[in-house]
Symmetry: C2
Subunit: 402 residues, 2 copies
Amino acid sequence: MDGVVKGDAVKGGAKDTVGAFISCFEIAGAPEGPLAGLSFAAKDIFDIAGHQTGCGNPDWAKSHDRALEHAPLVAALLGAGARLLGKTHTDELAYSLMGVNAHYGTPVNAADPRRVPGGSSSGSVAAGLVDIGLGSDTGGSVRLPAAFCGVYGLRTTHGALSLAQTMPLAPSFDTLGWFARDLTTMDRTAAALGLPEAQAPTRLLLPVDAWARASAETVAALGPALGRLERCLGAAVPAILAPEGLERWFECFRVCQAAEVWQTHGAWVEAVKPAFGAGVAQRFEMAARIGAAQWAEARAVREGVRTRLGDMLGADTVLVLPTGPAPAPLRETPEPALDDFRQRALALLCAAGLGGLPQLSVPAGGVEGGPVGLSLIGVPGADRALIATAAAAGLEAVHSAG
Amino acid sequence: MDGVVKGDAVKGGAKDTVGAFISCFEIAGAPEGPLAGLSFAAKDIFDIAGHQTGCGNPDWAKSHDRALEHAPLVAALLGAGARLLGKTHTDELAYSLMGVNAHYGTPVNAADPRRVPGGSSSGSVAAGLVDIGLGSDTGGSVRLPAAFCGVYGLRTTHGALSLAQTMPLAPSFDTLGWFARDLTTMDRTAAALGLPEAQAPTRLLLPVDAWARASAETVAALGPALGRLERCLGAAVPAILAPEGLERWFECFRVCQAAEVWQTHGAWVEAVKPAFGAGVAQRFEMAARIGAAQWAEARAVREGVRTRLGDMLGADTVLVLPTGPAPAPLRETPEPALDDFRQRALALLCAAGLGGLPQLSVPAGGVEGGPVGLSLIGVPGADRALIATAAAAGLEAVHSAG
């Protein structure tokens, strides 16, 4: 093993003042490569050879062996020259969005320490501890923390990148994603992982039913970033995303996700009876109760959603919408209110998940000190086109100005 | 009296094939004036000297005397040179939006005869029987029928024009309005009635929560008209109209309107016990039950709405939104479904009513053969600025092309 240093000292002298890391160590990347000079951290669901993959729950760590090899995407980043500086906290079994972990604590949101960071490894990127934060996004675990912490986050096209040796949650939704503080790093990472360039979109669609789910202050704060996109691509055309209502899309997402979660982890949960924090425990109980008929019905609704998204989106089109409904909740927010927020957020986040679509969240302003994100959703394979569009529109300048 | 001819022959030889008129006659306008050469009809709530004002209900006609003089706005149109060709049907006591009258039948929607025309005098204008249809707009009785019938309709700024000798419904909401088939006639009428020109707006606000209430097909159909406005005024900026939810605005409207309706007509309803059609009867029963505390609470909410609208809108700003949620319902739609539609429509229509704001509906496309309208809302006094903005953006061309 390369020099493994457990503790809170992130290699390079930076201290993990935000509590983002569950363990710090260094694994050098290849001496040359497109990511040479960049550092990264991986959310603690990716196997790192010789380390315990903990998945945010102590009972998981106890009941699983150490990893024998790197997850292929971790290996790919190392092979491209990036160095790995540690494992970052995850919500328990990644089945949440808020970044609150009952066992390991809640990392600090460096952009606004009063607020939760969102669920995944964004804390490390926002605090400047690493250049790239590797995460997974099933329901929004990259997009929402990116928005909460004022960094860029990409949920990749479903199936485009391997999630082998990475804890699955709901396989038909699970995707790789990552965070960075600038679009150049976002695109370098995408290229290093083998994502192809794609046709630049020329048409913006503004799903009014999604926008209507965001707070008035959030909508107002996103105006300047949207304006930049419109100067590049023309005025956004209003459209309804979900003729049957976004509640129905969210409910379809909830049922499909929960059924897959139980299929993936139910046997382990029943055998080990792990201690879960509030919220997570309730979601596993809910997942255990999804019946076959309910799941089948939700899958049928999902097919309709995919048809609708296919009809709306061509390679020339991007959807532009708020990433989340509001800035991150305050840290002291109790679980029922956090769960309310989570459900409101999922009504915005579920479209890309249901459709297997890539979504890029860009930092695009602030509300009462908390960052908010503007998202671009494209057709499958448009991952890098979304990054290129954000760069062409000068969205980085909005970020810097904000 | 000028030549009074009861019957279905509209002066000039045109026959009232759409059933828009309750009585046809001709009263000549002044020999010269800005509206010379134009004809008009007035909804049967405006007093016409020597005629019975019927207000859409036989018991009203029986229990009220003939009018001794013209309502001032009728007199003003006559004085400006327009000739009056008759009285058009109204929903009972104007307390509806659909144009369905249990006593006198439902006029034909000339733009799509399968659909209801909407409640007021639009049928006459859409069928080409008159140039100007004089109506009143409390909750949307000009705006919605204009959209349904594919014509222009203006709800004027509250209090800008006299409603003397015109049946009141809910005085703090009641406004004069009219219909025409082109913007030139709309503006000639506005000028003849004394509305001043106003500063042209330079900024479009797109209230996403209102747009989200329209059907997907309606939103799509309005795209070209919105695009023309945006080429003129720049991309519309998304905004949330009602941070507390449009349901709450609609509920506030419903309570305030009903309380005023009962205050205005309750004594007559209790004394005469008139026969009302379905829907109208239920609304009067509901109105009778609004308590003082409930009304006071709704008035307080309304103050908040007015503050919100004042904060959002400056003289430089117009709100752009769908007039109604969808094209007009089919004629055979039963009352409960019509009432559902009415409530959906009022969530879109209530903002201008609560705020006392002018709103112009322009015909802007069609969905399954039924016209849909795009609306502009401005600050008080912006009535003619809305007409000028629609003309400058070339919205008439969308109408013609549609």
